[in-house]
């Protein structure tokens, strides 16, 4: 079947991103009352895209030859020629993009279906689906692009769509502010990305990734990039890779550019699921995975990979610490995403693309599941998001509870049957064997421990114990259109475990282009046993500690958190996310506001008084001339003036103060002049 499909790939592949983009474009012109039609259009387009993406995925299963991954490069199209420079864009299909495209379309499809139920009472229902389609199409273009430029353009489209979706409830000031924050913060990273891209183009003369040996990621260009040394003793490849990494940090919410991600929770819950699972934040990790050959020059200890490993480790631990102290159900999940993205960066820095991609895809499934389950909880609790006011919801929403528990156990890394366990194990394995030291390894171990702790805390506070007072009244289970996507994603979160165990590392070998082999012996090697033991200890410790603390929480929803008493000041610090927002307020927003204030003061304090002095001089002169006129003039002049005034009045009536009227007169006059001109010159 794969052989039959390959000849059709060049044209089929373009449809994957363009169908959702097209649907988004059409929906933009549909009136509001056709919301139902809009949702069907969006889901239909994404469904077809999903089928094509899965077919393309099947094509990549057979490697061309042992050790070389399947790679199909669609013939690049010349976008435009400028002087003697031709800019080309194209698509590429390899295991990396095929896995991402299949995951994005599949997960997003279920999020779309869930949205029908979640947004049913929304007035701007159709517009919501238009934005979702645009978001997905842009992400698919990021994934399939064979040119850094095309990737960058799609990357910006993703940013735009996220801005519109986070600010979907734009009449709420926090949502509008969160949308701006997301846009501006990621822009800081995009600037670095852009500079890196221009630098790469200047040095290599191409932006195509693969171009029959002349592409950016192929050995010829890579060797030349590695040969040039620039500022600080870095090679050009390392410097540009660092710039691309900053871009990825902005999009993937790595410290210190992470502050927008928790605030992005102001958007509707399906949007949070989409941002955190399939689109947007995955784009940053994907960018590093795509340009990994540039990062990897110089082996695992190259400067950009070391930077990625450390930034990832710090982010993972930081976000896990902050997630412990949050009380908003979606904010906890948001910080857990930041933390898991840190894991992926560690994986890229220490273990390679395959490890990071497996965690990315496993994470996409269970995080989408967790967010949609959280959305179901919020929906059932009449838009309540504070977990202190919930409790005992297991009885009221048993189905949501089960799916939520599966997602939570996958995220916390419960042993053996959950994908999250094996993906995290692979990351720890890579970090432990990293030649650059134990720093990232220890950071990720600590983060994994805290992950088990805070996820258990959340599950206990929401679903166990008694319903706390004051709290929610009559929580109810959600409708089946919202529950079915939960079942599907839950199945995915579990089943994915099959392809990622050390006994049958199909996924890893597929990405690397090797034939998958079964080696059950790998499970009982001392190396693997040590890690599995470590993972077990981590999960048991985290869950056990959390169970001890949160088993019997008081029934009063205003009571302080049991941990708050033990940690006192530190808890407060964690609650405020370690003061990053306040820090930025002081160091960036403060000085900017100060400059604006200074300019304002200059205007008011200096220019306005200066003008006042001039004004009073002129007034005095006017009064003097007025008095002399009064004395020197006679009635004849007055009557002349009266006549003049009457004329002026009638003339001034045409001066209506309406610029469009003037414009029309000008347009008319110009037309007459033009006609005269042509008539005379003819």
């Amino acid at each position: 079947m794969a052989e039959a499909l390959i000849p059709h790939l060049p044209c089929l592949l373009w449809w994957v991103p363009f169908l959702p983009l097209l649907a988004g474009g059409i929906i933009a012109f549909l009136p509001n009352r056709l919301g139902r039609l809009a949702s069907r259009l969006a889901i239909g387009a994404l469904f077809v895209a999903c089928v094509i993406a899965l077919a393309a995925f099947v094509c990549t299963l057979a490697p061309a030859e042992e050790g070389v991954p399947f790679r199909f490069v669609a013939p690049p199209l010349t976008w435009f020629t400028f002087g003697d420079v031709a800019l080309k864009v194209g698509l590429v299909l390899d295991p990396l993009s095929a896995a991402m495209a299949a995951m994005v379309t599949f997960v997003a499809l279920w999020i779309f279906i869930y949205s029908i139920g979640y947004m049913e009472k929304e007035a701007r229902f159709g517009r919501f689906f238009g934005f979702l389609s645009l978001f997905c199409g842009a992400m698919l273009l990021v994934v399939l692009a064979n040119s850094l430029l095309l990737l960058f353009m799609a990357w910006e489209l993703v940013g735009l769509a996220s801005y519109m979706l986070i600010g979907f409830y734009f009449e709420k000031p926090p949502a509008a502010a969160a949308a701006q924050k997301a846009f501006i913060t990621t822009r800081v990273g995009d600037m670095a990305f852009f500079i890196g891209m221009i630098w790469l183009y200047r040095q290599s003369g191409t932006l195509l990734f693969y171009d029959h040996g002349n592409g950016l990621l192929e050995s010829g260009v890579l060797t030349s990039l590695a040969g040039i040394t620039t500022i600080g003793g870095l090679t050009v490849s390392a410097a540009t890779a660092l710039l691309l990494l900053v871009g990825a940090m902005g999009k993937s919410g790595q410290v210190p550019l992470h502050t927008w991600l928790p605030d992005a929770m102001e958007g509707p819950t399906p949007v949070s699921a989409l941002i955190h699972a399939a689109t947007m934040v995955a784009a940053g990790v994907f960018l590093v995975a795509r340009t990994y050959p540039i990062f990897g020059i110089g082996g695992l200890q190259s400067v950009p990979l070391t930077a990625a490993a450390w930034i990832g480790g710090i982010t993972a631990l930081y976000a896990a610490l902050v997630a412990m102290a949050q009380t908003d159900i979606k904010r906890i999940l948001a910080y857990s995403t930041v933390s898991q993205l840190g894991f992926m960066m560690v994986a890229l820095g220490t273990g390679g693309v395959a490890v990071a991609m497996f965690h990315l895809i496993a994470h996409a499934f269970f995080k989408a599941l967790l967010f949609l389950s959280a959305g179901s909880v919020i929906h059932g609790c009449h838009e309540e998001q504070d977990i202190r006011r919930m409790g005992g919801l297991r009885a009221a929403m048993p189905k949501t509870f089960i799916t939520y528990a599966i997602g939570m156990m996958a995220l916390a890394g419960f042993p053996f049957v959950f994908s999250g366990f094996w993906s995290k194990e692979a990351i720890l394995h890579g970090a432990m064997n990293w030649p650059g030291g134990y720093g990232p390894f220890l950071l990720t171990v600590a983060a994994a421990l805290l992950t088990a702790f805070y996820m258990t805390r959340q599950a206990l506070l929401v679903f166990y114990g008694v319903a706390r007072q004051p709290g929610v009244h009559h929580p109810h289970e959600s409708s089946s259109i919202m529950l079915v996507p939960l079942y599907v994603l839950a199945a995915g979160a579990v089943l994915l475990a099959i392809v990622g165990t050390p006994a049958w590392p199909w996924f890893e070998e597929w990405i690397k282009g090797e034939a998958a082999t079964c080696h059950p012996g790998a499970l009982v090697k001392p190396d693997a046993l040590k890690l599995i033991g470590l993972s077990l200890v981590i999960v048991t410790l985290g869950v056990g500690a959390s169970w001890q603390v949160y088993r019997n929480v008081s029934g009063d929803s205003a009571a302080p958190d049991p941990m708050a008493g033990k940690l006192a000041g530190i808890w407060k610090f964690l609650e405020q996310a370690m003061g990053f927002d306040a820090l930025y307020e002081k160091t960036i927003i403060g000085p900017l506001a100060f400059c604006a204030g200074a300019v304002d003061a200059l205007e008011r304090q200096i220019f306005v008084p200066l003008m006042a002095v001039g004004e009073s001089c002129i007034k005095r002169f006017g009064r003097w001339t007025g008095v002399s006129d009064e004395k020197g003039l006679n009635d004849g002049f007055d009557s002349l003036c009266c006549g003049l005034q009457n004329r002026a009045d009638s003339a001034s009536r045409s001066q209506a103060g309406k610029p469009q009227g003037y414009l029309r007169a000008i347009g008319l006059g110009m037309s007459v002049l033009l006609i005269l001109y042509f008539w005379l010159s003819a």
Partner: protein, 103 residues
């Protein structure tokens, strides 16, 4: 046949559309949008004549357009700022209400 006539038709359509918006819209923001359309129509003309006119190794046409795009961006920024201030002052973006300069 060169697509030059087609491009010129497109740009004149765009220009007319923009002019129509400027002359008939009441909302100041939409008038600004119309102005942008007219600017872009001019840009298309520049590019079309550069592409299908006599060969021009100095890229004068595209350079002109690059500057025009930069100026258009600045114009939009200043225009929107002015509209924002006017809106704060009068609580309206209706151009017909802003007639305090009438005779």
């Amino acid at each position: 046949m060169t697509p030059l006539p087609l491009l010129l038709t497109l740009s004149s359509l765009l220009f007319t559309l923009g002019l129509f918006a400027v002359l008939t819209r009441r909302n100041v923001i939409l008038i600004l949008v119309g102005i942008e359309l007219m600017l872009n129509a001019a840009n298309i003309n520049f590019i079309a004549f550069w592409r299908y006119g006599p060969p021009d190794p100095d890229l004068i046409g595209p350079m002109f357009v690059l500057f025009s795009i930069a100026i258009a961006a600045a114009e939009a920024a200043v225009g929107l700022a002015i509209i924002l201030m006017v809106f704060r002052h009068t609580r309206s973006t209706d151009l017909n209400r802003l007639d305090s300069l009438h005779g």
